[in-house]
């Protein structure tokens, strides 16, 4: 098991165990963070699963793919470490990953 630290839009932080094979989005949803909407359920079609990856962790996560990049571009909240969490497969290599749920916009 690997762990993931999630900060909500309201600023509360929790560390949870994430099963490999799930996406970061699925882990955040399962942990009960409702402010991450994930309207399309992980189909890279809605951009409502936007997170900011902690800058020190970004190299391990890597940059967005092309479709994801398009979607992120439309957000006013985009930062250099923005990702759509449904497009990040979780696993041992990401143990200790820190993400903050992005505000909508």
């Amino acid at each position: 098991m690997a762990s993931l630290t999630i900060t909500s839009t309201r600023g509360d932080t929790r560390t949870v165990e994430g099963a490999a094979g799930l996406s970061v989005m699925e882990i955040i949803r399962k942990a009960g963070f409702d402010d991450l909407q994930a309207l399309c359920g992980g189909s890279c079609a809605c951009a409502t699963c936007h997170v900011h990856v902690h800058p020190d962790d970004f190299a391990r996560v890597g940059p967005p793919n092309e479709d994801e990049d398009d979607l992120l571009d439309s957000s006013n909240e985009r930062t250099p470490t923005s990702r759509l969490s449904c497009q990040i497969p979780f696993g041992p290599a990401l143990d200790g990953l820190r993400v903050t749920v992005a505000k909508e916009g």
């Binding site: 189909s43 079609a45 979607l71």
Partner: protein, 391 residues
């Protein structure tokens, strides 16, 4: 063991003209009857509560779109691939091509033009006395601009609204008058089969699909079928949604004033309006495997109706759900569906509604609505006409 025989039956006919005009009392009664209810005609299971509809939309492995999303064989077996009635790999491939021009980053380039078009139209209507807001305002951008972006040649472009109305009517079960819808639909299928790629406007959304064939991403049949995704759901849906938004604001002058004072409420007003009066009433899924909802099991092979418009009025999820309230957080609503088939045109619909509202806020002080005439379309909820005045 789950007791299938105990699934309550909702006896009233949801597809009668009266129920199509005034559906919300039926939805409430269904939600109260139980998580799963059965209908008589069509003979299907139905989900009407928010959590159950959302979970079902996110369970594509159990609940198939490729088995059809309507309630008749004619609708569910179209004879060629299309986006909404596909699953799995084919759906993923078709969808990623179709949504490319519909993503926010791509749409942004059209926003100033759409805004200026609708602003001119609104200005020309202010102080003009009564008019029909569906014909004069709601239908304006879709027919003047969106159909041009889709790219069909003129005779096809002129038929889009007829094809769309017939398609959504045909989503429902076979009833009196269905023959006529299936004829129009057959006309669309023939038109599409004979359509020459070269006759579609260069650079348009539909024409761009041609390139996916040579690139080996879609087959000829898939690329052609994908054209439907731009033609059939792109106009009527947003037209009716704008009708609801205009009506909602005109009937709640306090909220209209709030919006004029604080335009940051604008995106929320759009979302609340699609929650409150969801344009697409329902679609269905075919259960591939047994599918469990609470302690009931819907057996493999059953057809399951998902009522978006009821989910969005579920008192278990939204406080005082019948109230139109632009200040509530309605983001989690299901008017655009959820899961892999989440509406591909959601961003376009939002943008069209937002630029219309911006233009209204900038150019009008008073909105006044008369009594709308309700449609009896079996898939879409909305107004045929809406008497209106702008001052």
């Amino acid at each position: 063991m789950p007791q299938l025989t105990q699934t309550p039956v909702y006896e009233a006919d949801l597809f009668s003209p009266a129920a199509l005009r005034e559906p919300f009392g039926h939805y409430r009664a269904m939600r109260d009857l139980g998580p799963v209810v059965r209908l008589r005609d069509p003979d299907v299971y139905a989900l009407s509560r928010f959590d159950d509809v959302r979970d079902a939309l996110q369970a594509p492995d159990a609940l198939s779109n490729a088995g059809g999303v309507g309630f008749s064989d004619e609708f569910n077996q179209p004879g060629g691939p299309n986006l909404i009635q596909s699953d799995g790999d084919r759906h993923r491939r078709m969808r990623s091509e179709v949504i490319r021009p519909l993503l926010p980053a791509q749409l942004k380039q059209h926003r100033p033009f759409l805004k200026s078009l609708i602003a001119e139209r609104i200005k020309s209507l202010v102080g003009r006395g009564p008019f029909d807001a569906i014909a004069e305002v709601a239908r304006f951008l879709p027919t003047a601009a969106i159909s041009a972006l889709v790219g069909l040649p003129e005779e096809g472009r002129a038929s889009m609204l007829d094809w769309a109305a017939a398609t959504f009517n045909a989503v429902g079960p076979r009833r009196e008058g269905s023959e006529r819808d299936f004829e129009v639909l057959a006309g669309w299928r023939t038109y599409l089969a004979n359509l020459q790629w070269e006759s579609i406007r260069e650079g348009s959304w539909a024409r761009t699909l041609q390139g996916t064939i040579a690139a080996g991403r879609l087959s000829e049949a898939e690329a052609r079928g994908a054209i439907s995704a731009y033609v059939l759901p792109s106009l009527d849906t947003t037209i009716l949604a704008k009708g609801h938004l205009l009506h909602g604001l005109a009937r709640h002058p306090g909220q209209w004033r709030m919006l004029r004072d604080d335009p940051s409420l604008l995106p929320g007003a759009v979302i609340e309006s699609v929650r409150h009066s969801s344009v697409i009433r329902w679609f269905s899924r075919l259960a591939r495997t047994d599918y469990q909802v609470e302690d009931e099991v819907i057996p493999a092979g059953s057809r399951l109706m998902l009522i978006y418009a009821s989910a969005n009025r579920d008192e278990r999820r939204f406080e005082d759900p019948d109230r139109f309230d632009i200040t509530r957080d309605a983001r989690a609503q299901l008017a655009w569906g959820s899961g892999p088939h989440l509406c591909g045109g959601m961003h376009l619909a939002k943008m069209e509604m937002e630029v219309m509202l911006e233009a209204l806020v900038e150019h009008c002080e008073v909105l006044e609505a008369g009594e709308p005439e309700l449609l009896t379309n079996r898939g879409l909820y909305g107004f045929a006409s809406l008497p209106f005045e702008l001052r």
